[in-house]
């Protein structure tokens, strides 16, 4: 081997991508999904929800200061974080399911990076024109017109970024109040910092980085290969039909030339800047725009649609031989996808079940073990417990404390005469209680006696309990 040979450079500067405008069913689907997803993102914090006078009236609210998460009628406390974990597991399994069935549909249609980049390209096209105009502008020397167009575009992008960052902070506090404060300059510095950072990242990811995020930064393209197999429906080029490609000839079909007229429509519309005719590539996010572009051309030249199409690798051999491909259902229904669906459903049902059985009141008991017990003058043995009472209701409620009936202990609550404690709305009250065992009782001389604290919502029927230990005097 010669050492004179120069190795390939590992670095390549980015080739700018100028996606052309395209019309078609997949493009329309993408518009709909964009409107729905962005609509949810921008508008969701403004949905109001009546929670009574003492709680925030926002339907979706991540109340970090009070460590509460409100989602319509659901309220999640920090100790119920497993709901979030469960949702994340479901999201993961859902992603597996969709990828193994239909390839990178998440990437192509709903990934925020794709949606915002799509929006940014739309704005770019409005301001600077379609592909050819943009390429010309890119190559043009800087003059007033270029400066004007660029500044307009950047300003529009920055505004979208601002709306994006602005919407984000609304999820964390009362949106109408925060909006007024943001405008008046009286909001918390963290709100401004967050808005600024998200404005900048939206601008950068959607306007500048675009497809490079998918290609270089996102781990998902690497993981997805493991989810996909020959039955996965993904975007492909029917090379047996298209090749040999070549410019369309005026004469009648000579039977040699394929359907591809090498018009580059599929390449020009690709937001990732690739040529799908080279086969499946890591860059491809399966957004379907090349299908729309090619179908359009095929219609014009009077050939059947689907030269570029959603298809499964398994069908290639069948189609080459002129046989009809297997049905979509057959591709999608296979052990792998059924397993993912089953797991996904299982976790989902578990979460729903947990959501319905969880009580709105809760008790936590921490025995005070410094010291383990106190001897009173008459020989009574006392144990002390710190008790946390959680009231997840929107109004203050009286909680009644009790022990299991056969415990034989006397119960006393510090600071009150009885055993009833008022717990403020949506709060946790910490109280100290004394549990006394009579001098001649068994528990007074046992090292460990198990017993149970019961807490009852006196305005309703809900009960909760916590088991703990009573330490007696053994010497």
């Amino acid at each position: 081997m010669s050492t004179q040979q120069k190795p390939d450079q590992l670095y390549a500067s980015r080739e700018p991508v100028f996606p052309r405008r395209v019309k078609g069913k997949f493009r329309n689907l993408k518009w709909v999904i964009m409107i729905v997803t962005l609509g949810i993102y921008y508008l969701a914090p403004w949905i109001r929800w009546d929670r009574g006078p003492e709680l925030p009236g926002q339907a979706i609210l991540v109340d970090l200061a009070n460590r509460r998460f409100f989602f319509f009628w659901i309220e999640i406390w920090p100790h119920e974080f497993y709901f979030i974990a469960g949702l994340l597991i479901m999201a993961g399994l859902g992603l597996f399911l969709f990828t193994s069935a239909m390839g990178r549909v998440w990437c192509g249609y709903t990934c925020p990076q794709t949606v915002w980049t799509d929006l940014f390209i739309l704005v770019e096209r409005w301001i600077e024109g379609d592909r050819n105009a943009r390429v010309r502008l890119w190559n043009a020397k800087w003059d007033l017109r270029k400066l004007r167009l660029r500044l307009t575009k950047w300003a529009a992008w920055a505004l979208i970024g601002l709306a994006t960052g602005g919407a984000w902070v609304f999820y964390f506090t009362d949106a109408p109040t925060l909006l007024v404060n943001l405008v008046h300059g009286t909001a918390h510095p963290i709100a401004y910092t967050t808005v600024f950072v998200l404005t900048a990242t939206t601008f950068f990811f959607g306007g500048i980085a675009r497809e490079q995020v998918c290609i270089y930064a996102c781990p998902w393209p690497r993981i997805q290969a493991a989810m996909m197999d020959e039955d996965t429906i993904t975007i492909g080029y029917r090379s047996w039909r298209g090749e040999p490609r070549g410019k369309m000839k005026k004469q009648a079909d000579d039977g040699v030339q394929g359907d591809c007229i090498d018009c580059m429509a599929c390449v020009n519309v690709c937001p990732m800047g690739i040529d799908i005719r080279n086969g499946q590539q890591m860059e491809c996010i399966t957004c379907g725009l090349c299908i729309d572009a090619c179908d359009d051309v095929m219609a014009k030249i009077g050939k059947p649609r689907g030269l570029i199409d959603y298809l499964a690798l398994k069908d290639e051999a069948l189609e080459r031989e002129g046989k009809p491909p297997a049905s979509v259902i057959k591709h999608i229904l296979r052990p792998r996808t059924i397993l993912y669906t089953a797991l996904w459903t299982l976790v989902g049902m578990g979460l729903v079940f947990a959501l319905f059985i969880r009580p709105d009141i809760d008790i936590g008991v921490t025995p005070v073990r410094n010291p383990t017990f106190v001897v009173k003058s008459d020989g009574t043995i006392r144990n002390v417990y710190d008790i946390r009472l959680r009231n997840k209701h929107g109004e203050a409620r009286p909680f009644g404390l009790a022990l299991n009936q056969d415990a034989g202990f006397a119960l006393d609550v510090e600071g009150t005469d009885g055993t009833v404690v008022m717990v403020p709305a949506d709060e946790m009250a910490i109280i100290r209680v004394y549990v006394d065992a009579a001098p001649d009782s068994e528990a007074a001389h046992e090292e460990r006696t198990e017993f149970t604290f019961w807490v009852t919502d006196l305005t309703g029927t809900e009960r909760a309990f916590a088991e703990t230990i009573f330490n007696g005097r053994t010497n």
Binding site: M1, V375, G379
Partner: protein, 310 residues
Amino acid sequence: MSTRNDKQDVETTGHSWDGIEEFNNPLPRWWVWIFYATIVWGIWYTIAYPAWPGLKEATAGYLGFSTRERVANEIATVDAANAEMVAALESVDLTTIADNADMNSFATKMGAAVFKSNCSQCHGSGAAGAVGYPNLLDDDWLWGGRIEEIAFTVTHGIRNEQSMSTRGYGGVMPAFADSLSHEDIDSVVNYVLQISGQEADAALATAGETVFLDNCVACHGEDAKGSLATTRSFEDPADLIADGEMLGAPNLTDAIWLYGGSADALTATITNGRGNVMPAWSEEFRGTSGLTQAEINAVAAYVHQLGGGQ
């Protein structure tokens, strides 16, 4: 892929391993500039912030930054925020603290801090005491368990020389080694074991009752319940101790023993006497190292709500 460097002749480092050579490319420009920038930043930093060590202290830095000062400021901010409550606590009527939720919460938290730094060395961090140091969680109070009595005890201490005029006299257990024989001590120990419900030699206990009546009732009372308060009169402010409540001399019939309730412990107590000292904590007796009135009130409120307060 860019091939713009392919035409250049890049020299190698000259090393060759199995024919593999290493290009001697210059460092990337951006990296070099960041490197220079960090040097400039470093120089600026040592000028702006405390950096260069001297013999006694480091250079102060142009910006005059000081973590010590920052902590002092934070403490001052907290103190300023608490000033109103502390002032109120200074002159509060102790018996009303428990009824005022804000005051109670503030006083017990402040009291807990005072207790941890000043009292826990003897009484334990959980206030459970030890042999010779009373347990503050139980319902047995030699010097009164009401909140104002606790505050008084903290202020003046017990049996200490600075404050002899108030609680200095009370409750010293004298040594009986000289006045009682071994046999007498042995019998009175059995008597005390008997009246406190422990195993005792009945014959000795009967003999011990006589010894008890001759020697111990002056302080511990005929019923051995330590009714010292009824037999002594105190000038103000010791009026705090109500009639019928104990002052110093313990109840010998209950389950609580400050110095231990076993035969050995009782023998030692009677033979050698007992008289542990609690320091006086007020500024009156300790100067600037003492507790302020607000701190005394706070720690009294804290101890009072530990479970045994009366």
